[in-house]
Symmetry: none
Subunit: 135 residues, 4 copies
DNA sequence: GTGGTCTAGACCACG
DNA sequence: GTGGTCTAGACCACC
């Protein structure tokens, strides 16, 4: 199944990050497998109606991470996924992300229960998306 | 209890956001109570070795959120909590925060269940902390 | 129709407020419609012969109010209208505006009835104006 | 009846202006008559728990306007009220005040009807206050 | 002393 | 090209 990238130009998240994030996630969720081919810089830029430089930057970032490879003349491919972080290191990185969400959520006047519910709801939506790709 | 703000000038997170974040956190945990006076713009700027304008911007943002009040000539104070944003707007702002956590969490190879559990655990810690400050 | 902003540097009203005020007015009267692009920070600063930071601050304030959106690298646009503040907060902010009008009006020796009449008259003019822009 | 001045230190309106405004209004509404004595700078400062300099500045402003006179050694008194502005000039000054209220009110998402109602309601409150003083 | 406003000019991220 | 952030330093209003 081809990767379907969605861009929100109104968001404060930079476009190139939206792209890298979605590809990274596609790999993490199994939607993109090792060896899969991605659209060319030009093709993706055109289909998203954005600047080719922006796509190039996203691909470039991912190539530096080793998540994909550009084979000149052939195209762009997902390369082997490597588990670089230890479980413990992953937890260490996760914690501040959670704390940020909690403190900002509380500043927005949400109770712990509301935050919990909103988080669970959003998680379910993500899982549904993932489920659909496996059909 | 005095608030101790720490700044990391090397971080990609803007300084003024590091400040707002830590003050929000102080309020959320109960370390900062309604009516508490914060250090003056100049004093905080000096102790952090940053420009007063940067502190002023942080205070300004929080004042707009209704978290604190600036009284020209007198100082800066934690204000009584009130619902400044509409619920709809609050939800609109909460959503991207949650999505960031989920997508980064998944990029870290955590399952939905693990994320949910980690979030719930962290929330419980916050509530305990807050309880302690209310003694 | 292009928005024509006029600045009075001699006024005691801060420049950034003169700007926000005129843009708010443009939106309220319908002269500025959703999706319209505003002049860039630098362009407006140059045409008004003021510092770009001052324009940026005005735009920033309006963005926080939800009246416009800044898209880094692309420009500044009028955003779809939405209820950003809670009704309670909106009323809280409206009240001092009304009180100022009343006390200044009374200082000008107008009776309550005269003020009421003048206000109603002005309101009608606004509605006519707005109607014209919607044609 | 003695003048009862109320100060709101949390307001964005400077304290000295709150004082001048209330005295000006007391005269306009007849609550303060020509020849009435005002509390001394020191006495008023103490009763309001504010800085004497602030009271002095307020009295000073009003003395410059000719609304009150300080008679050294005797006290501060309301002096003759003079109608300085022509009716037409008053109207010219009133109009922009009304327009500001309307455009800001609309930016706060209030309809013309809501603005009209809020204005009428606030006006009634002012009249009740005035009425009470005449009892 | 306090915060508010403005300028001038720099550097960065983004498209 | 766009806006975002930060610094340095000035002047003002207020207390």
């Amino acid at each position: 199944m081809a990767l379907n990238i969605n861009i929100n130009t109104g968001s404060s998240v930079p476009i190139y990050k939206q792209i890298t994030e979605q590809i990274r996630l596609g790999v993490a969720t199994g939607r993109l497998a090792v060896g899969d081919q991605l659209p060319s810089v030009r093709a993706l830029a055109e289909s998203l109606a954005i600047n080719p430089n922006t796509v190039a930057r996203a691909y470039n970032d991912l190539a530096h991470e080793g998540l994909l490879e550009t084979q000149p003349g052939r195209g762009v491919f997902i390369s082997a996924k490597r588990q670089v972080l230890s479980r413990e290191e992953s937890r260490r990185r996760l914690e501040p992300l959670i704390n940020t969400l909690i403190s900002e959520g509380m500043a927005l006047n949400f109770s712990a229960e509301e935050l919990q519910a909103a988080f669970a709801k959003q998680l379910r939506q993500w899982q549904n998306e993932k489920g659909n790709h496996h059909e």
